[in-house]
Symmetry: C2
Subunit: 472 residues, 2 copies
Amino acid sequence: MDDPLRLREWFTSLVGPRGVVKDKLQILDLTTDRRKRYVGQPLLVLKPATTSEVAEIVKLAAQTRTAVVPQGGNTGLCGGATPDASGAQIVVNLTRMNQIRAIDSVNNTMTVEAGCVLADVQHAAAEADRLFPLSLAAEGSCTIGGNVSTNAGGVRVLRYGMMRDVVLGIEVVLPSGEIWHGLRGLRKDNTGYDLKHLFVGAEGTLGVITAVTLKLFPRPTTSATMLIALDTPGDALQLLSLAQSYLSGRLTAFELISATCLTLVRKYFPSIQAPFPISYPQYALIEISDTCGADEMGKTLEVLLSEAHGLDIARDVAVGTSRKHIQQLWQVREYISEAETADGKNVKHDISLPISRIADFIEVTDSEIAHTYPGTRMICFGHLGDGSLHYNVAPPQGADRDAFMAANLVRINRIVHDSVTRFGGSISAEHGLGQAKREEILRYKTSTEMNLMRAVKNALDPLGIMNPGKVL
Amino acid sequence: MDDPLRLREWFTSLVGPRGVVKDKLQILDLTTDRRKRYVGQPLLVLKPATTSEVAEIVKLAAQTRTAVVPQGGNTGLCGGATPDASGAQIVVNLTRMNQIRAIDSVNNTMTVEAGCVLADVQHAAAEADRLFPLSLAAEGSCTIGGNVSTNAGGVRVLRYGMMRDVVLGIEVVLPSGEIWHGLRGLRKDNTGYDLKHLFVGAEGTLGVITAVTLKLFPRPTTSATMLIALDTPGDALQLLSLAQSYLSGRLTAFELISATCLTLVRKYFPSIQAPFPISYPQYALIEISDTCGADEMGKTLEVLLSEAHGLDIARDVAVGTSRKHIQQLWQVREYISEAETADGKNVKHDISLPISRIADFIEVTDSEIAHTYPGTRMICFGHLGDGSLHYNVAPPQGADRDAFMAANLVRINRIVHDSVTRFGGSISAEHGLGQAKREEILRYKTSTEMNLMRAVKNALDPLGIMNPGKVL
């Protein structure tokens, strides 16, 4: 191994003074993950400004066998962008590469650099009278490169798919330092293996994504939001089926929220209005949007609600009547995570299931948890329309949270993940594996699949310099 | 190499008598490609009945270094499922594996075996009141395994995506003979590399797909079809943009048809009615579908047509008024390929372009071809909404077709493919590479990309037994 001082000098020479982070607080910030579970000690934190600079960095990394940790907005929840504590890994933060390279409103595509903040990409699309649909809590600070590397999801997957589904082309610096110029804007291209899908969701273990070409969509001109009070997750599933057959592509969000979640939000954010005078066991938050006129939307909504009443499962309905009211309805959903944080640590799970199994999964798993850990509270909410749940277990009221977590986290994870697997689900729906679930996944994937993944990793990154210790 | 006789004996013992094709005519049929450009000489043609039988075949193939050519309905257009002439390759035809294993109408998924005929899958979905959207000319005989292996497209890609976009899970016999059980029915799953995307579109070079889990969609309850007469492809692009912003997900097909195509169809199928009393340079065939009522559809259509008139580009409009009339409008599109066949050989291209470049591409390339080959006729039609064109060049009237093809095919391909590449397009939009474009692609892909593909191939199939001579 080369002397760290000389390595620092060499890498620094590739990017110039603005390309190296010197400030110690900033370094600490960029080497600590969002949930503060991982704190790394880097050799260097670099902020290259161009694809060529990234290529030079990776070339030198390959020559010197230096590990590279690609990073965007550092908002990941599994430690995928945090270096280890060896002091030997370099963080390559892409936030200076934040140019929107092109928008083509006839082809419905835009090409953006990896360091663009998601909200900026949404705005740029809107300015061209188009929709870039990906939308998630961290959109004000997460970057497109990170969204692609973790195959981000969010609230509109039901209609527009995951990040993977809206990426048409990709530019990647490969582990050799070579650049693969794959920025295509084509809907149909059958000329061999679709390599871009390898890099999407690979969490930086196969290369550094520097730019992508994204799909754009017609911008909806009208929308409606409603919260429907229900008795059970099973009723929510019935309502989802109804909404899908009736609304088809107009259904853009279908979120499930349990009474416990609403109580928590109201406890910590009392300014958020209760949607109904009394409490109900479950709520479905539904968003419809369309490119047609407001009249038609009103009619659509009317028919949907009358059909829902016909099902005899809707206990109450709140339809957003103003911009402000709609915002309030969404806040019920959006503030759950912050309310959880305010409430204190809990055991989080980011899972997905076949949609048809969700009600049974919740019933069976709730009961197993309640039996094993009396007094724990289930904080269950999520994107029902995509089969994805945030299924979190909060310690009993009054318990010492840290002690409870230390003693039981592993076993609770085990109960939930084993149950997910029995129901045909996934132990990471949206957040990836990173460092957090790298060991856990070995329990649930077959050796056949793990070996396939390792074969791909070794083929593309034979030196193992790309984000080692993550995913695999 | 082992003695062919003994190899035949060994392989035959794995599948039983029904699993081996003995009939010489049938063997000839299964070793000749659809366009009759490739005729192979196989060691054996096998028809296994189960995934385990496929696994046993591939295991023995690996042990004996025997090449395996996976095959579905044998409707491919690039020779991807045809063995070579060595007499050493075995064809593994999957048409006996034609079970629909499960339909889950709440999860909107179905799991089907690779040998299911596409039309049967569409019907099974419809019986469960769901839509399986993939639709293409060969749907009565092509199989799902082939559709997945070639990432099939067709007329509804605009709304529902390519085959790749509707595959959620996959079961594959790997080149080692191991089975990867990846039949998941999840919309969100971020647990490592998305390996299924490697096998989709790999044309059998990475393994044998034995079953898939597919996405289903709400079944449209109303639809409308219209043919709009236009002056230029540029006008068609304008109309497409308008239709997209106005209709969003209701727009399910947008096909471009040139006057030459219509003339050809009318010449060879005079029973197909002319849609208009006079001829126009271009036509757009548009299909709208929705889950709403017929009244709403009528209104939508009305507004669309009035907007189109506002653009002042629609020269005439024919709206399908009855089932029969709609069928007639579609026949104008569907009979083009057969009319071409009746007319005699021509130089075919299956290309795609950024949608915004299509009009310019057609103008520039038409002119280059006309300049180089006076008298040739351009037969240009395709899925404009996806940027995909069938851009075919017919020899001058009265020319000796065979002589013309023999003398000029390579150079015409070169002109068209070079032009496609200058416009940022792909030389294979829908049909894959197979044997037909395996050499050609080397001219258009960078060595970086080809090397990535080779690295993946070598990692998954180190012995090179899976469909050698195809794609790579």
